[in-house]
Amino acid sequence: MASDMDTLLSARALMGISLAFHIVYVAFGIGMPFDIMVAEGLALRTGNEMYHQLARRWVRPLVVLVAIGAVSGTVLSFELGLLWPRFMAFSGALIGLPFWLEAFAFFIEAIFLSAYIYGERRLSRRTLFLCTIPVVVGSIASAVFVISANSWMNTPAGFQLAGSEPVPGNLSNVDPLQAFANPAWLHELLHGTLATYVACNMMIAGVYALAILRGHLTEYNKRALTLVLAVAGIAAPLQIFLGDFAAVSVARLEPAKLAAMEALFHTTQGAPETILGWPDPARGEVRYALEIPRLLSILAYQDPNATVQGLDAFPPGTTPNPVLTHPSFDLMVGLGFLMAIVVIWFWGLRWLRKEVPSGKWTMRAVLIASPFGLIAQELGWFTTEFGRQPWIAAGTMSVAQGVTPDSGIEAVLIAFVGVYVALTIGLVRLVPVRAPDGGRSALQGGPHGSS
């Protein structure tokens, strides 16, 4: 059975690498259209051309990022069949519907993005602005739909299973709408979609903070920084609350995942919150951790004496590994708080001084925090995926039951890792951030910096 293990490991590795790669581009594909819509709207409303120029400057990076997102998303849809055909044979009739809806949302997004990009000379300014709206709606809808498929894997719903074998023949009372609106969907779609806005806008803010640190304290850079930090200024603090809502929901819907997230080995009444540390499953304890008494019970159940199920409450072999889940979760939460502090700091200064803060330390803070959103997004996804193991559909089908019977998946893994390396090299080398003339970035710089 060694080769079966290799197939399973290769399939998991390839799916993981593909998703980790795709998620980065998704953040920009969802986040940037919103910024562009806001900028075009401001240009129309205020008559300030700088906002229009700002939006058009974002198009070139956006379009490359969206193209890479589109092809890497296609890879994922194929990998569902290439790597997990048994899972899809079982669940396609249940989770196909959100993907099917997503296909239409994706069409709308692609069509109107093209119209916006290429319509500069053919469409009126008003029509251009109107084109950005379906792009924003389509991108949000895509995220909301595809997250439903993921949340179904966490909380499968909308069917009955005859016997224990998860094969299509054992399915009955198939109800795709119930599967679509599965219990984990609401908190996942709110937390997951908002994460893209945090990640994208923090990253772009970093580009402008860098430009200002390098001495380009222009009106253009200040307005751009203000715009993206306005979006992040709402999204990052709000994400703390949505994250709390998500964690409370996980406690109710996926107790084993919560136990792994919190590295809670033993069922405990008045459970403490374990911050950082290294879980040691062999000894059933967390080393080097900071423990805050009763906080986990309060956070999860709003009751300091509530009992929280530990990993020992579930049959052996059916629980996720806290060594992977707990650090991912804690780091995500930590980065989320740091970003919220940075944006609140920025807007606090803005309010006190009545001008855009551009001091060295504020800009450095924004620059340092700029990749945190993307990292937190990846960590959040690690948390939910590692936290579901060993299941591909929680409690119903194990990952091993869903994998392809084909041999040769190792070769597919190697081939696609090669493709991702090539794409990354291409992005870094061929989509220069620096324009040939002024040495300024395609994102930053003045409206006439390059092109």
Binding site: R60, A93, W100
Partner: protein, 339 residues
């Protein structure tokens, strides 16, 4: 047969035709970029390259449409096909990804495309890789090599999809793309360049005709089961229409009626694929997996079709808007419209 399965299968076929008719031309653009020749080779490449810009991503979404329609409405067929055809599908996917990425890098980079020869080569080679292996994958469903037992593809030799029938199928995929691109381009160009595309369109039309005709004796020898279905009297309809459309396209190109030739060329592709699907009917995998066996439960099919109707009501006007805005003229300067 309950019409629900039939309607869902028709949706998959229409998606596949749309992908071939629209994205096929984009792959054809890559093929003719590699084959550009004569005094205007450079203009041929530039015009092909620029024409793809505003539409390739939308065209590409038809592939996602097909894949998702397949696993939603026919999860068993999706699983079986991806198990049995792992290698050609993975090869096609690599082609699709590299084509899209190479195009985006070349088209949207701030650098002069002339300084990026590698992306140009990748763009051309991957534009051939994808349709060749997609052609193999599609014809492999009729090649009578896949064996299905208890809803699962039986372990195959990794190369058992390589048969004379599927190889000719791959070449037909290539010819189909090479056929559409120059004919669409003839509508969008003028003068000598237009004549270049006219000649290339006619050459590819002949190649497509020869290869399709060649597939018939190959089927007779290699896949008797498919041959028997192909020569069924009811098949005369789609085959006849396809032949007539193919010949009509040649005549229209000869007479320089490019707008009509464009429609006729897309019609040829639709006819070809419909004829293939009709011969395959009522199966997804010939003799092994019927459409009804592969279909999802009725509730899923109903919701799938309702979504299709609602989605189309939004999608079709949007598509018309896109092609109406960008299809009328040759977007030579499209690359300079932003930034």
């Amino acid at each position: 047969m309950v019409p629900l399965e039939g309607l869902a299968a028709l949706t998959v076929l229409i998606g596949l035709i749309m992908y071939a008719a629209f994205a096929g031309a984009d792959f054809g653009g890559g093929i003719w970029t590699a084959l550009a020749s004569g005094p205007r080779a450079r203009s041929q490449q530039v015009s092909l390259f620029e024409a793809i810009g505003p539409v390739w991503e939308t065209n590409h979404v038809w592939l996602v449409f097909v894949v998702v329609a397949l696993f939603t409405a026919f999860p068993l067929a999706f699983a079986v096909l991806f198990e049995a055809l792992l290698v050609p599908i993975a090869m096609a996917l690599i082609g699709i990804v590299l084509r899209g990425a190479a195009y985006a890098f070349r088209h949207y980079s701030l650098r002069d495309p002339q300084t990026m020869p590698v992306t140009g080569q990748v763009f051309s080679v991957s534009s051939m890789l994808a349709p060749f292996f997609l052609g193999i994958a599609v014809t492999a469903t009729a090649a009578d090599r896949i064996r299905v037992l208890a809803g699962q593809a039986q372990a195959m030799n990794l190369t058992s999809w390589v048969t004379p029938f599927t190889i000719v199928g791959g070449l037909i995929g290539l010819a189909l793309c090479a056929y559409l691109a120059p004919i669409y381009m003839a509508v969008r160009t003028q003068g000598a360049l237009q004549e270049d595309f006219r000649g290339r369109g006619m050459a590819a039309a002949v190649a497509l005709g020869v290869l399709t005709a060649l597939e018939l004796p190959v089927a007779l020898v290699d896949v008797p089961l498919f041959w028997q279905r192909l020569v069924h009297p009811l098949q005369l309809g789609p085959v006849g229409v396809t032949v007539i459309l193919g010949v009509t396209t040649l005549v229209l190109l000869w007479k320089r009626a490019y707008r009509w030739a464009q429609i006729s060329a897309a019609g040829t592709v639709a006819g070809l694929m419909t004829g293939f699907a009709a011969a395959l009917y009522p199966d997804f995998v010939i003799g092994q997996l019927a459409i009804t066996q592969a279909a999802a439960p009725e509730t899923t099919l109903v919701e799938f079709l309702i979504t299709l109707v609602i989605g189309s009501a939004i999608l079709i006007p949007s598509l018309v808007f896109l092609y109406w805005t960008f299809g009328k003229e040759y977007p030579m300067t499209a690359g300079r419209h932003y930034g």
